[in-house]
């Protein structure tokens, strides 16, 4: 594996490879309906989606919806991240708390947000807060579990070092637990971000709070297949962008981590 990059051409940059991957995906999306593998009525070729997207992009409504979605997503994810990280470190760091919380966490985690929709609506009506509740509820568990596993991963020698120098609990968290858990938190962020986006869209779709999801619902019930997929593509692209950002953040904050440092050419 080593010895390869030496003397040979440089590997292609990551972003270019990513674009190649996406291009391949787009090609499949174009060809599958064109080749008649599925009916064009139900899965139109990519070019149709693209023209529908272009039409959408011309309307202020679309941008407004995108903005609403992003806002709801960002708020929900931030709340979930903050709560997940803080509680995760607390619960993971204090065995007593961990023992007390486990069964409750396991009970609550599998309750689907969709089942909570009537309750959310009951509390907050059909506006953004209902969806926000769903987003926070769903994304929170993702982050929490990752943090719990991350906290468990602290190297015993590092922990002992911190203890022997009598670091305060807060310092231990800041200097030992947090850096160790960070790769897990990053994964938690990436998982949580997607789940938050999914729930934001689903919430808008079902509850009807403003955003892209509502547009998707309208397109669905109107039988406007290409428009619907155009919107879905936007949602997917949001996911891609979020990941790019997360990866960039990871490269900055995890420079010391084996996963990053071995990849520096």
């Amino acid at each position: 594996m080593r010895g390869r990059d030496e003397g040979r051409r440089r590997p292609l940059p990551v972003w270019l490879l990513g674009l190649i991957g996406l291009a391949g995906f787009v090609a499949i999306l174009e060809l599958v309906p064109r080749a008649g593998l599925v009916d064009e009525r139900f899965l139109p070729p990519f070019s149709d989606m693209l023209s529908a997207l272009a039409a959408q992009a011309g309307t202020a409504e679309f941008w407004q919806a995108l903005l609403e979605t992003l806002r709801g997503w960002a708020i929900g994810l931030s709340v979930a991240m903050a709560a997940g990280v803080v509680l995760g470190i607390l619960i993971g760091g204090i065995p007593l708390l961990r023992a007390a919380m486990t069964s409750t966490i396991e009970f609550l985690r599998p309750i689907p947000s969709v089942a909570l929709i009537p309750l959310a609506v009951l509390l907050f009506g059909t506006d953004m807060r209902s969806t926000l509740l769903l987003v926070v509820y769903a994304a929170f568990w993702q982050v929490l579990v990752q943090v719990l596993y991350g906290v468990r991963d602290v190297d015993p020698v590092a922990r002992e070092t911190a203890r022997s120098y009598r670091f305060s609990p807060l310092t231990q968290v800041r200097t030992v637990i947090w850096p160790t858990a960070l790769p897990y938190v990053m994964t938690g962020f990436r998982l949580g971000a997607a789940v938050a986006l999914i729930l934001e869209i689903t919430g808008e779709l079902i509850i009807g709070s403003p955003g892209l999801g509502r547009q998707i619902a309208v397109a669905q019930t109107s039988g406007a297949v290409a428009s619907m997929y155009a919107l879905v593509i936007v949602v997917g692209l949001v996911g891609v962008v979020v990941n790019v950002i997360a990866r960039a953040g990871e490269r900055r904050s995890l420079r010391w981590h084996p996963s990053i440092r071995t990849e520096v050419p």
């Binding site: 020698v157 002992e160 120098y165 850096p179 010391w256």
Partner: protein, 270 residues
């Protein structure tokens, strides 16, 4: 040939210490019965066969490990957690450095915790890194350093901390002979300057005799104290003259013989 601590009252008292590791199917009696004490400001070396329980002992003294029986009393108080003003150099030096921090940050962190003012902190860190010969790598991360350099960072961290009690677990295992000699002198200088009490685990018999006021030789596992050897060499030591003293050679031979006996499984009669 048991010696009592030199000072009037003991700083550290290890009484009937016993430690059994019991994890799952395996249960190992690492330390059977250890009793010794150390006076304030003493420099004591501990030698013993590999796997004797030296690290275990050190962990118990540091309050990082609960003993199965017996107790460790420091400054008149039973040790239940890491005491104030203690620094430890771990045998697993590599893992005791935080990979997410630079060398400087690693050394500086305990000082920050101790609330040492910034300027003073700066001075201490620089001095310590200088003393271990790493002044030029303070911005590197630990994993960018060689094994010996990592170990020296761990030493620098302990030195900069200016502890009252210093526990070192084979701290010079990974450095070359010359650096080792320099570091030995560093420890002695520090010890004399600050009056710090030092508990020093080593495998190098010469080193134990050169450094210590007393050498505690442990038996093999399950461990008891095989013998305490008082090092009656003059307090002013230097690498050339001290090591060439006939008494040095005698002590060295004695300790070596004890280690050989320990490895053969000899145990004290009592």
């Amino acid at each position: 040939m048991t010696t009592t601590p030199i000072g009037a009252t003991a700083l550290l008292d290890v009484r009937d210490l016993r430690k059994v590791y019991s994890g799952g199917s395996r249960s190992v009696e690492a330390v059977r019965n250890l009793t010794f004490s150390i006076a304030p400001g003493e420099l004591v070396c501990i030698v013993g066969p590999s796997g004797a329980g030296k690290t275990t002992l050190l962990r118990c003294v540091a309050g990082l490990l609960n003993s199965t029986a017996g107790e460790v009393v420091l400054d008149g108080e039973k040790v239940t957690g890491p005491p104030r003003g203690m620094a430890v150099v771990f045998q697993e030096y590599g893992r005791s450095l935080f990979p997410w921090m630079t060398v400087r940050q690693n050394v500086e962190l305990p000082l920050k915790e101790k609330k040492v003012p910034k300027a003073e902190r700066r001075r201490l860190v620089e001095q310590a890194l200088e003393a271990v010969g790493l002044a030029d790598v303070h911005n590197a991360h630990p994993w960018q350093l060689s094994g010996g350099m990592q170990q020296r960072v761990a030493i620098a961290r302990a030195v900069a901390y200016e502890p009252h009690i210093l526990l070192m677990d084979e701290p010079f295992a990974a450095v070359d002979a010359q650096t080792r000699a320099d570091l030995e002198d560093l420890v002695r200088t520090l010890w004399r300057r600050l009056g710090v009490t030092v508990l020093f685990v080593t495998h190098d018999i010469d080193e134990s005799v050169y450094l210590g006021q007393r050498v505690i030789v442990l038996s093999n596992s399950p461990t008891v104290v095989l013998e305490e050897v008082a090092v009656d060499l003059p307090d002013d030591r230097d690498q050339l003259t001290t090591r060439s003293l006939p008494r040095f050679a005698e002590l060295r031979a004695h300790v070596y013989e004890l280690i050989q006996r320990a490895k053969r499984g000899d145990r004290p009669a009592g």
